[in-house]
């Protein structure tokens, strides 16, 4: 896809958030499990660790690493901000933008997508509903991940609780920009949820606690990957 050699669909992106189970050395271990699950199943699995862990993880694994956020800034006086160039040099191939826990202003989403494109980072814009997904599509990101915020972390999968949000998002996004890849997320905990998401028209999922908080994250990732293939 898009000249990023190790990215293909279906794709599973695991958001590490700031979970204890996915911080520092534990984040590296989890990324290694993701790599192993990816190699075993042939499905693309990306990881999205905290900023400080990007470099360490990118050196150890060859699966795609995504930043959890970038700021729409250039080199300069921006203490405490996340520079797209830094994230790229540290080894990330892409970035989440506008996650529900890190919402951005509209003009900043536009600028962040443009900055991601300039430095060669894949942009994955998170959205909360169908109109916002359509709105994001007009900004030409590489991917959109729709996640109804009320389902995040609940274990109630969007693909079952709100299938119409997924299908209407796919339709609205493709109408505005057919090249945008649509993912969905929120409440996904097993392979069935993943297959359902794919059958509804998405090309993958964004998942966090469903993997990170699982007893056996490796097993869950293999399960997800196989379900994505079969769907």
């Amino acid at each position: 896809m898009m000249g990023y050699s190790n990215i293909k669909t279906p794709i599973i992106i695991v958001n590490f958030k700031t979970y204890a189970e996915a911080t520092g050395e534990k984040a590296v271990k989890l990324a290694e499990m993701a790599e192993k699950a990816s190699v075993e199943t042939g499905v693309c699995i990306g990881v999205s660790p905290q900023f400080v862990d990007i470099y360490k993880i990118a050196r150890r694994v060859s699966i795609p690493v995504f930043s959890q956020h970038i700021d729409p800034i250039e080199y300069g006086s921006f203490t405490g901000h996340v520079l797209p160039e830094s994230v790229k040099e540290a080894g990330a191939v892409g970035t989440l933008i506008n996650h529900s826990e890190r919402r951005l202003k509209l003009a900043d989403i536009d600028a962040a997508i443009r900055r991601a494109r300039e430095v060669g980072l894949i942009s994955v814009v998170c959205t909360n509903n169908t109109p916002v997904s359509a709105s994001a599509a007009a900004l030409k990101p590489n991917m959109i991940a729709v996640e109804p915020p009320e389902l995040i972390g609940t274990g109630i999968p969007v693909s079952k609780a709100k299938p119409e949000v997924v299908t209407s998002t796919v339709e609205a996004v493709k109408r505005i920009n057919p090249e945008v890849i649509v993912l969905c997320g929120a409440g996904i905990t097993n392979g069935d949820d993943v297959s359902a998401a794919i059958r509804l028209g998405t090309e993958g999922i964004l998942v966090a606690s469903g993997v990170v908080k699982a007893k056996d994250p490796y097993k869950v990732m293999v399960d997800f990957a196989e379900a994505a293939l079969k769907a």
Copy 2:
């Protein structure tokens, strides 16, 4: 100081911001120059690189590394935020809080200082004037760095342009909490500015472009350190 074995005053903290000259591999090189200048002069020089560069730098140098910001959060669902525990595990010994380019809400500064204390990070709260410095002192950070924002990056040193801001800040902070170390910053480009800052009652400086954008950052840091000693 405070049980942090490699911290002592006078201290010079170099803020790398998101400068091109202080990103990625260049950030590592700059940190190595800072370490060399510190070893040569015996003065404590700390560096404050971007989040993604903390780990790489902390592994290569033994001078104190400061994060440019932390969020007042705990382990959990905070995508795109900066977890104090992560920064600590990556090798930082302290953190800037409330830099003029990353201002925080009052309640969040309080919470960030408390979180820094909990995980064992030195807190350096940046402030813009005397009342705000006094206000910050009541929150019991380890250090306060006063920087009149209108002088940042100008080359007009606060220690000369606004000496009364420095002296009144030292006085106001010490009255509320005598244990807080006061630094100053903004416009510092040579040894004289550093000596002046120390003579006005501070125990060090926070500097960015004066070092990072210098033709020979190593020489400037040595110059600063020697001036700090002689003051």
Copy 3:
């Protein structure tokens, strides 16, 4: 238009910002001039005063009054926020959303437009460029006012300095949602700028200093209105 009896195009909306010349009693006087200019020319002229002045102005004039902002909230515990219902009850018929001086998060623009619709307020979403305008169009506001921020307050009219921004915005917005009315703003100071804006495909303008800071605001508004008619 849209069941709002006193709204028609071309429309001129005068943003009072927090200018001294447009605060309190002076705001009332300026609104009265706008009404007089509207009556005299037959062109729709709306005013957008500060929150506290909405009630006073709406009682005195019968031209459309727009709030400068609403928060995407409902009745409840939102101290210090701007409730759409309050603005409506005070006499506003519409509201600006996402002005360049009051940018909102994407999800909040979506929610604010929906709340405006629910309470019967015309939504005028301000945007900074063509992609952001297209993005806003997908959220189905009543109007979009594109204003390149670098031209705001300069006296260099967008309709002359960046005509391609205006035409590409009209095209992009209409493609996504043909019902959205497109205005433009920034740097407009005379009738020629207004005619140019209309000829480029807009149905009106959003103006601030060009009217408020003018020696004779009444005369300028008449001039603008006549130019809008002739274009």
Copy 4:
């Protein structure tokens, strides 16, 4: 107090938030009840309505009216912001600053207090705990209202659930600035809670749902006022 002729302690400030029961015409009625309760008991009762209702209320009642927020701005280009001068001209005598539902950056609290002083508005800074109250005291507001956010709207009164927060706040604030008047709030629903607050060293309370959501707000305000007098 402070040259504001109609302000004296003990004081009860009723925050109208954006409650349906305290919006528009209902806000005026509630303010009239507050005035009647004030006249009947001789206790100072202030009201803090939404921005758009300030003018209407200030014209009808002679009790003190407080804005729920001001922005630390001057006349100029600040669309959608709350100008201290406007609020004052509309009839407010004071303003809340930094309510838990409208938290501000530290530098902005400092600037907002200064702006309030410049235009002659009483500043009431809301805080969430003792260190933050001490911190706010260093900025020299007229009043500080401490409200543990976890108790707001619960009906569990701070004066009973966390008396030590109230006493330690009074002590910390007075140590830094003895002229600052301390109020407390959160969970206050009856006269006993008010007396307890006063006995703990405060000079009044900030209350919202306890009055606004009461079956008979007038009766509750009389009850509060009498309890404040007897304490």
